[in-house]
């Protein structure tokens, strides 16, 4: 029996493979950027639609991940410009419960996630790009129009701040420098 997608064009196949492989990480990145599940889903949808329109600009499959993360970051910035969200104090930010529904790890994970949500945007964004996107300092620098050294400093401070927020746990693990 011939494969079902025998008539699907290569562009469509490439796109589908990209969605299947990267949508989860993109969603997670979107979540940590926006701190909202619904906004994160919208952002991922928009990112992939934009990616489909510009798929010809993608030179090789290995660049897909940083390329998509960059698109999503821009989409998020655009959304922010459009909607002009009400600003809230970081301490008042409460993550949506369903995002943390992982019973076996709920204790420590909840603390880490809470600490992550408390990080300022300028630290949380490169940290999420590095940890979820697997992007190097150079790639993050290119995506955020910064110098690699500046990104390195942000990442260092992000982890320092994270460990400060986690307090005893990080200290117990010797995470403090």
């Amino acid at each position: 029996m011939p494969p079902v997608n025998k008539d699907v064009n290569p562009k469509q196949r490439q796109y589908e493979a990209m969605v299947r492989a990267l949508s989860a990480d993109l969603y997670r990145f979107a979540y940590w950027l926006s701190r909202s599940e619904t906004v994160a889903q919208d952002l991922v949808q928009e990112t992939f639609l934009r990616a489909w329109k510009n798929l010809d600009a993608l030179r090789d499959a290995e660049s897909a991940r940083p390329w998509l993360f960059t698109i999503l970051r821009r989409e998020h910035a655009r959304l922010f410009e459009r909607k002009r969200f009400d600003t809230v104090e970081l301490d008042e930010t409460v993550a949506e419960d369903t995002a943390f529904a992982s019973p076996e790890r709920s204790g420590s994970d909840a603390q880490v996630r809470d600490a992550m949500l408390r990080l300022p945007d300028k630290y949380r964004e490169p940290l999420a790009m590095q940890v979820i996107g697997g992007m190097s300092c150079d790639e993050i620098a290119a995506a955020t129009d910064q110098q690699p050294g500046a990104v390195m400093t942000q990442l260092f401070r992000a982890r320092q701040r994270l460990k400060d927020l986690l307090g005893g746990r990080a200290a117990a693990e010797g995470g403090r420098t």
């Binding site: 949508s23 943390f100 940890v131 260092f156």
Partner: protein
């Protein structure tokens, strides 16, 4: 790389496989290897904590949105293409109709269309006198300025389309050649034509237009007839008539 650099670098990039970093880890005796281990453990936990659950069917929804959008775009493009094709067809059809209408009103078309009504005149062989020829033109309130052509067998005023005309037939070398003169119908150029079995020429004269045509007559005969009528209508020797 000293221990401080190592730890700073590791804090910024815990997963780095930089050879300098790894070399310091393996050679340092001040606890950097243990620091590296703790950093990796922390990073494992951190990565796991950030890996929040993904909504069910997210990828399918993304693909569906893309497929729906693409289908809508294709339908839209197909509609635009159809509309463009229809517009082009209408434009071609309109242009064709316009051309047909304009062509049907052209002098050669009107002259050829006039002939079935007077086809019998081509069979006349009896030459008319100069006075009879001149009389044929008085019906259009005009006089010949030159001598009448020889061997004229028919002259009568009639209508060609909506234009008043003088219809004449000259039999030269046993070949009937029709000459239609339309006084007052000015044209800006002379041109040859061939339609519905008639060879002809439309000639711009100073006071109107002369159409000379025949079925199967030689060019030489037609040239001679055209020259003769031009000379008769305008005066002079009519030598400016071109070749067919």
């Amino acid at each position: 790389m000293n221990c401080l650099d190592f730890r700073r670098r590791l804090t910024a990039e815990p997963r780095s496989r930089d050879p300098g970093l790894l070399a310091h880890r393996d050679s340092c005796t001040a606890g950097c290897a243990a620091f590296w281990q703790r950093a990796q453990r922390f990073e494992d936990d951190f990565e796991a904590a950030l890996a929040i659950p993904v909504p069910d069917g997210l990828a399918d929804r993304i693909l569906l949105a893309q497929a729906t959008g693409e289908r809508r775009r294709q339908v839209g493009m197909r509609r635009v293409s159809l509309a463009m094709a229809a517009s082009l067809l209408i434009a071609f059809f309109g242009a064709g109709m316009l051309w047909r209408q304009m062509d049907a009103r052209s002098l050669p078309a009107l002259a050829v269309a006039h002939m079935p009504y007077e086809i019998d005149t081509l069979a006349l062989t009896q030459p008319m006198t100069d006075a009879q020829v001149e009389a044929g033109f008085t019906g259009r309130a005009m006089h010949l300025k030159g001598p009448s052509p020889a061997d004229v067998t028919y002259v009568h005023d009639c209508m060609v389309g909506t234009y008043p005309a003088v219809h004449a037939v000259t039999r030269m070398n046993d070949e009937p050649v029709v000459a239609l003169y339309l006084p007052g119908k000015m044209s800006d150029r002379s041109e040859d034509f061939h339609r519905d079995g008639w060879d002809g020429r439309q000639i711009a004269l100073s006071g109107g237009t002369l159409v000379v045509m025949a079925q199967g007559a030689s060019r030489k005969t037609m040239d001679a007839v055209a020259r003769g009528w031009r000379s008769a209508i305008e005066g002079g020797d009519g030598t400016t008539v071109g070749q067919i």
